[in-house]
């Protein structure tokens, strides 16, 4: 289960605040995954006191609303990434960035599909730069794209371009994964699926033996 409580002293009307919070959740908490299990309790409560004395925000189209939305997105993304970073048994955070989609929602869907793939997660834990599993995770996201436009990079190591696997330094790629695991750092997976403007991110973690151990013991 994930729970969140977010507070602000900005002055904002109820209907605008509720739309802002939903947008921010879709760009943060709804884009993380550890094990593919959607909990019965997932909740984010967001409260705005209005005590800062800032300009009252009563429309999503105002400049002030844009400023507050960006800040709310950032806080929720910071918290959401820390949940994925702390996934049970995780040794590293996986950040999947997708570009070239037709829209933000499609990009987000492909990103989370890859981040949620047990095979991608296990490959990262095995320090295996397995571009095929990443391509597969993108392919079953339910977002149509031409596989001849698929581009995949691990950090700054290009693994696939134009749908063609490329020769790359396997040891360097594996060392990149090893380095992230040893420092509980971040593995970046960059995917492009076309020439659209849509971009999105998702966050997950690698799948280790400890995940099974923790959950086999955390019984009812």
């Amino acid at each position: 289960t994930m729970l969140g409580v977010v507070t602000t002293d900005a002055l904002v009307t109820s209907d605008v605040w509720r739309k802002m919070v939903k947008t921010a959740v879709n760009r943060s908490f709804n884009q993380i995954t550890v094990d593919g299990d959607s909990s019965t309790n997932d909740t984010v409560i967001a409260l705005a006191s209005g005590i800062s004395g800032s300009t009252a925000i009563s429309s999503l189209d105002s400049f002030e609303a844009t400023q507050l939305q960006a800040c709310l997105d950032a806080v929720m993304q910071g918290l959401a990434k820390s949940i994925a970073w702390d996934g049970e048994g995780a040794t590293c955070l996986i950040e999947v960035s997708v570009t070239g989609a037709n829209n933000e929602a499609d990009a987000a869907k492909v990103a989370r599909s890859v981040a949620a793939s047990s095979l991608v997660k296990a490959a990262v834990y095995g320090r295996d730069p397995n571009w095929g599993r990443i391509a597969c995770g993108a392919g079953y996201a339910g977002v149509p794209f031409s596989q001849n436009e698929l581009r995949i990079a691990l950090g700054d190591i290009l693994l696939m371009d134009g749908g063609q696997p490329l020769p790359f330094d396997r040891n360097a790629a594996s060392d990149y994964l090893k380095g992230a695991g040893e420092t509980h750092g971040t593995v970046e997976i960059h995917i492009s699926i076309g020439n659209g403007q849509g971009r999105g991110q998702a966050w997950g973690c690698d799948l280790s033996y400890d995940y099974v151990k923790i959950n086999a013991e955390y019984t009812t």
Binding site: V5, K22, V34, T40, N41, T43, G50, A74, V75
Partner: protein, 217 residues
């Protein structure tokens, strides 16, 4: 905050380290404080005897001095826990709230009508002590699924929890620890930015480590 309260608050925050917060770049500055950074908010966390083992804090409360505009986003899992059903109902009829009570230990999920009754009782007890209406109190629960909350222990802890409420960073940190379950780190962050030329703050806390594939709306 009286001396023994300070000790209790500081104790709470020592149980697990803070998560590294990877904030996106932008026109904001990270500041200490989590949920208490924004004006008008207080928080507390303490051990209320709900966890199965150990004495890590397991009960948190966040309050607002004024009627806060409230929003909630909830799991789309159709087997929704009692606190989720309760909060959805409350936010359907109320645009504002004054407090959020969070317990760890039991999720109060798949607990049927009795579990829902437990939520009502906890919200009413907090409301009474804070002199609020019950529908101004929201509830979040996390922990072992299928078990009702240890309500007697929770209700007995409320007066102490309310006494611990503090607008300090320690209050926010104690609350962030108290909501954790299998987390190895606590998650809390706050930022300051300008909206329309006025400084505002946004802060938050979160928990989560397993059963994580949120699909909320």
């Amino acid at each position: 905050v009286s001396n023994n309260n300070t000790t209790t608050i500081l104790e709470a925050a020592k149980y697990i380290p803070a998560a590294p917060i990877l904030l996106p770049e932008g026109p904001w500055e990270q500041i200490p404080g989590g949920v208490t950074a924004a004006k008008g908010f207080k928080a507390a966390g303490m051990y209320g005897g709900l966890r199965a083992k150990g004495e890590k804090p397991d009960l948190a409360l966040v309050t607002c001095d004024v009627d806060a505009v409230a929003a909630g986003v909830f799991t789309l899992n159709v087997v929704a826990a009692a606190p989720v059903l309760y909060c959805r109902n409350v936010l359907d009829i109320s645009k504002t709230a004054r407090a959020v009570l969070v317990n760890a230990g039991q999720a109060n999920a798949a607990t049927g009508d009795l579990g829902y009754q437990d939520v009502i009782e906890c919200a009413s007890a907090v409301a009474k002590l804070l002199q609020l209406r019950p529908e101004e109190v929201l509830i979040e629960s996390t922990g072992v699924i299928g078990q009702r909350i240890k309500k007697d222990a929770l209700l007995k802890s409320l007066p102490s929890l309310i006494k611990l409420l503090s607008s300090t960073t320690e209050g926010a940190d104690a609350a962030a620890v108290a909501i954790t379950t299998t987390d190895l780190v606590c998650k809390s962050v706050a930022v300051e930015t300008e909206v329309g030329g006025t400084k505002i703050r946004v802060g938050g806390m979160a928990k989560g480590s397993g059963m994580i594939h949120p699909n909320m709306a």
